[in-house]
Amino acid sequence: MALDDVPRLGCGRSIDSIWATIERPPTAHEEQCDHCQTARTRLERLSEETRALRESDVHDPALKPGPGIKDAIMDVARAEVRRGSRILLRSADNGTTEISEQALSSLVRFAAAAIPGVHSRRCRIEIRPAASSIAGEDDPSGTAGNATTAGPRLIVNLRVAAAPGIDIPLMAEVLRHEISNAIPAGVGIGAGTVNITVEDLYDV
């Protein structure tokens, strides 16, 4: 005979099965069975108390998080996002240095924010190992980043929206120049290729 630890009523039904259906109307068996009716009455009271406690917790000011908690949670969330995609900048016996794609993207966005009439949108950064970079192989416009420390070669793909009436080729050139200066200054590696896509015009 199999034994189990599930508490059972005199009629053989488990307490758990009654609890699982406590929100529904009683079954035909439960309407006839004294054991089930007693159990239901007690469990309904428990269910009601549980619901009241839940409601009370929701509105209890003492259980509201402090003002710094939300900020702290967002800080952790942002840091976790930044931990996602990283680029190896330098590797030596005494340790490695990596940078997150998010950090590089923010640098590119800061640079773009300095150009009037430009709203930066999506920024993706690809990486090519230093060894596979070929001398003279740069972006189609011929504008390369300032060469600094030997390291990985970046391919920056930035999508922007421009103000109507703006000279788009000139804006793209200024923007590319700004980014090509910002990355060596901010990170210490060459900017590599900077691809700019003007995908929209925005209302001023």
Partner: protein
Amino acid sequence: MSEAPLQGSIITSQLIASLAARTTLETPGVLRLEPTVQGFLARLGPAALRHLRNPGSQNGTYRHDGVTATISNGTARVHLDIATDIAFTALDVAETVQRRVRESISHTGLTPGAIDITILAIEHHRGPTIM
């Protein structure tokens, strides 16, 4: 009375992590160490950490906000997640942090191992975060 030197050591991975964190935060150009879930729980209170806490040991790993320190066979390795000031060149900041942390570790009597750094954010000092 024996002349033999004491073999015991009180240098734990938690101490190395604390030392590395302080050295890093004192380096010009470092804005902060990037928080981790575990560090956040530690700030909430000890109860939240009861099941997660990993006290430092002489042969083990200790993790806290932005710092992971590991001691193995007398060598201390450290990993740091940092945010740097946009007014500084991040690679130079990281190099300075590596040098300073190595120096700090060598003062404990342990051998400095790899000091790995990840630059998770570059921001203006007191400026908004752009993601």
